[in-house]
Amino acid sequence: MSQDVTIYITDRNGQRHEVQAPTDMNMNVMEVIRSYELAEEGTIGICGGMAMCASCQCYILNDVVSLERNPEEEAMLWEAYHVKDNSRLGCQIPITEDLEGLELEIAPEQ
């Protein structure tokens, strides 16, 4: 069994949650948020994780994950609202063991 990682997620109401995310189920940050229902269904992961809607935009609050965006993610964020330097799309961050202790905040609805 691979280890779960602990991730700290602040929801859109400002509440901070500590959640356990499995590293062996090919999940990403957007899916973890959905599986814990930390954002209302229908307001996150709308495109299913294709980096095509920015509904899973997150602000990365510590240096556990790189702020470097992949090209599709970057292009989507050019057109999104509320984008900051530390914005990433949750669907483009796979859950790996390196993510232990990641702290992030879900961006407002688009």
């Binding site: 209302e40 229908g42 709308i46 095509m52 292009a75 989507m76």
Partner: protein, 352 residues
């Protein structure tokens, strides 16, 4: 007034397949969809992306799946009201329904199947002063290119950096007198052939490209006369007849949220896996738009739900009538257009 047996709201894969299953039971369907073309998310969001979990298709492009479904239901002659959003529903005393769209088109049906997916797609709008004024009837701001002929000989400014901005710029470059494409970045995100085509048209002088740029305002007293564009901190003014911002679409449950249906987590609650009827008799919800314990938002589950819904409507409309499930291989498919598809008969012949 358009009359039908089952009125389907949503022309995505689930709604389209429902036409087939209804047709086998001799029920006619009509489909309403807010987008100008059938296919829902599949054509609007990811037509060129593959899907790997459609049974029997190791891989199928979303756009091809929609084309196949359209071909599959053709003989059942579904009606379409496209580019209009189902807005109001009225249940009559005889149990039938009247559904009216935002454009006032009325549909009368014996049953309603909401196959609305994530909801109706609404355009993401730029944040601009006076946008509401210029959005009104033919004042120059449009979010969809519904009728390209409208732009013949006109000047058009398109804004956006994705496939639809690229594709419409390419298309309108042959229709409009002038096409200007404005995007916040030099880089575009789209299919490679679209990006290359725009590059070509730019060099040929058929598309004027303004990057990195952003439309920041309008001029025009009655309707749009020009747009102000910020380019690298400087400002320029471009005369135009139309401004078409194409910043993508976001789905919203929309008017169906106010039809008195039980809603949970932005989805319509149905009677768990029996026939997907909602709390209002005669209104069904199938595909991604519904929820019940164990719900999975998969196209293949939508197909199953559509099938059960059709059986339920049949039983409701023909109470007590004997019916047994038919296999298409055995019974063939009789279209409403008079066509018949059937398996080739085996021969009974001695081999000597």
């Amino acid at each position: 007034m358009i009359e039908t047996d089952i009125l389907i709201i949503g022309a995505g894969p689930t709604g389209l397949f429902a036409v087939f299953e209804a047709g086998l039971l001799k029920l006619k369907c009509h489909i309403i969809d807010g987008l100008p073309q059938p296919g829902g998310q599949l054509t609007e969001l990811y037509p060129k992306k593959p899907i790997f979990d459609i049974p029997g298709f190791p891989s199928v492009l979303a756009g091809d799946l929609v084309n196949n479904l359209m071909e599959q239901i053709k003989q059942f002659q579904p009606g379409f009201t496209l580019g209009e959003v189902a807005e109001k529903i009225q249940k009559l005393d005889d149990g039938t329904f009247i559904v009216t769209t935002n454009k006032g088109t009325e549909h009368k049906a014996k049953a309603v199947a909401i196959a609305g997916g994530l909801g109706s797609f609404e355009p993401r709008k730029p944040i601009l002063k006076d946008l509401e004024f210029y959005e009104l009837e033919d004042r120059g701001v449009e979010y969809f290119v519904k009728d390209p002929e409208k732009y013949r000989g006109k000047r058009v400014v398109i804004s956006g950096g994705g496939d639809s901005a690229l594709d419409w710029s390419i298309f309108l470059s042959n229709v409009a007198s002038e096409v200007t494409l404005v995007h916040r970045r030099n880089e575009f995100r789209g299919a490679l052939d679209s990006v290359e085509k725009v590059q070509e048209l730019k060099h040929a002088g058929k598309i004027r490209l303004i990057t990195p740029g952003e439309v920041i305002g309008f001029k025009g007293s009655e309707r749009i006369e020009s747009v102000d564009i910020e380019v690298n901190g400087a400002r320029m003014n471009v005369e135009t007849d139309y401004f078409i911002p194409l910043f993508g679409l976001t789905p919203k449950l929309g008017p169906i949220a106010h039809w008195g249906l039980e809603i949970e987590k932005n989805a319509i609650v149905v009677n768990n896996a029996l026939d997907y009827q909602t709390n209002i008799e005669g209104i069904y919800a199938i595909g991604d738009v519904n929820t019940y314990p164990g719900k999975l938002k998969l196209i293949l589950c939508g197909f199953h739900e559509a099938t059960l819904m059709c059986q339920s409507v049949y039983n409701k409309l023909n109470p007590g009538k004997k019916y047994v499930l038919k296999y298409t291989t055995v019974s063939g498919v009789d279209g409403f257009d008079g066509s018949r598809k059937e398996a080739e008969k085996a021969v009974v012949k001695a081999i000597e």
